[in-house]
Symmetry: C2
Subunit: 323 residues, 2 copies
């Protein structure tokens, strides 16, 4: 089996190790902290419990080796994932250690949530070998990886990285440009700041905001994204109609929402074009049918899980009573 | 059975009518446009298909009366839901027609996504009778209703409105204050603007942004909201640790993210307190177990639906080939 090297543990690095192991890869793991192996084993256990329920034919688990050093971990590895603390001087030093010992054609990827490949590559032995593969927690369950390259990285390396990530049942999305914090965390950051305003102004509590999210667009977004949802909202009149209607709303004088992008014709056309491509010929009715079928399945699934949790709590309470 | 009056159809008003009918309420419906009844029947059909799968013991469907006028629709109704076009002068005129004919103790609610109760109440016969009940599309499936009042509205009316909404299997959230666009749409607006920047700058396409959302935080938010997710991310160290760590990130010089709220001690303390209350004594491990169980159920459900959609497409293709 191919070998992945995991440099840096914690919740994210341990999640990567679990993802590779349970998808049949051999893993060489290194983290110098005393607590790292305990965290790793706990995450692997959690992954082992969850994964069989997702797959009828899980591959044979790979073997895990706890390495003594970065050099020991990366020797011979096809894919190397760095998940050390979010400080640029640490990451650059770790990349130097990695590149002194790894194969020149290995893929060297960072879990960084904030830094761009160009920053990570500064002072590196082979800058063109370093990319970002940014995952989401829990890494052993959530499929997304944002793959980010700089102009120095070859299309071949990006393709090989995507192939590796797909081989461990992940969904790599190769971004069109490098920006601080990539895409998902920027979207989260925008929503997070608005949530902070709402709390500060006493409009809603954290619990209410969570309830609002989980009972509305959270249920949408587990299965349809922002643009496809709005495409459906546009109805038969389509995405352009929706954008032209929605556009002016972006300039409403909402006290805490500022710095509005100019939704001009060029931007409208670009979104319409991309949305058309994304729909791939499906009609609004087809999209609506997909949406409703998914929502029913999700709501049923959540209800079943609530019932299971209730039964478990009853069991715990019974045991307490009989003590 | 109690009677709900639905004033104004379209996707939202028709969704409300469907929600009430399928939960056993009698409905009196009025919309002057020629197309309204066709849209209503289409939405009711869609609702009828979806609802039985969500409930083993669906109540007997209520009766539907197409009224000749607003006055005819609202006479004797316990709950009146207005879903007319998003223009304040239309809504205020409709409220005058409603209040001239409805019971003085009926609940008069607006589906408005932008206006505040204080604005809707201007010039009304009985301002204290008018609230906002803002739903999410599709109304017959998504449970959330943001309930917003002005200081003129009594706690008793707000409680009765919540009781009505719960009786049709919805999740009413009573906001702490009135602000333009309430809560959910402000969160969506913040994320939407950032998505527009990312598209404008060529960082990602609409399809990539949708894939990023549906494969990461969309799966989280169908079952755990923003704050509970971050609480789990904080791990054993808790919400305060998370906020103190995360806080500075809010001031990173991300080019397109501006107007940052001051995450001072008072705001940190408020969020920590609300998050504690929300957790209601559950440990991080308990929350993690809930999260993983839900994610497995959702991912399994989505996979099953993909398989069903695939089988359906195969069937369509077979029929095309045999034509």
């Amino acid at each position: 089996m191919p070998t992945a090297a995991i440099i840096g543990g914690g919740v994210i690095g341990s999640g990567w190790a679990t993802r590779f192991l349970l998808n049949g890869w051999d893993v060489r793991f290194f983290d110098p902290s005393a607590d790292a192996e305990r965290v790793l084993q706990a995450v692997i256990e959690r992954g082992r419990e969850a994964m069989p329920a997702l797959s009828d034919a899980a591959p044979k688990e790979g073997s895990l080796i706890i390495a003594d050093s970065t050099a020991d971990a990366v020797a011979g590895a096809v894919y190397i994932q760095e998940s050390t603390p979010e400080r640029i001087e640490i990451k650059q030093a770790v990349f130097r250690s990695i590149q002194e010992a790894c194969d020149a054609d290995a893929i060297v990827a960072s879990s960084t949530s904030g830094f761009m490949p160009t920053e990570l590559q500064e002072g590196a032995l082979r800058p063109e070998q370093i990319i970002v593969s940014h995952p989401y927690n829990p890494v052993y369950l959530l499929p997304l990886v944002e793959v980010v390259a700089s102009p120095k990285v070859s299309p071949d390396l990006i393709q090989r990285a995507s192939d590796v990530l797909e081989s461990v049942s992940m969904k790599p999305i190769v971004l069109g440009a490098e920006v601080p914090a990539h895409v998902g965390d920027r979207l989260l950051e925008a929503l997070w700041r608005e949530a902070l305003w709402l709390i500060k102004d006493g409009v809603a509590t954290t619990g209410q905001i969570d309830d609002i999210i989980t009972h509305s667009f959270g249920l949408r977004w587990a299965q349809k994204g922002l643009f496809e949802t709005y495409r459906v909202a546009g109805g038969q009149a389509g995405m352009k109609h929706f954008l032209e209607q929605f556009g002016p709303c972006l300039e409403w004088p909402w006290t805490k929402l500022m710095d509005v992008p100019d939704l001009d014709d060029a931007l409208i056309d670009r979104i319409v074009e991309q949305s058309d491509e994304q729909a791939a010929g499906r009609t609004v009715m087809q999209l609506e049918n997909e949406r409703d079928r998914n929502l029913v399945a999700l709501l049923k699934a959540l209800r079943r899980e609530d019932a299971a949790a209730g039964a478990f709590l009853n069991e715990v309470n019974r045991r307490k009573l009989s003590d």
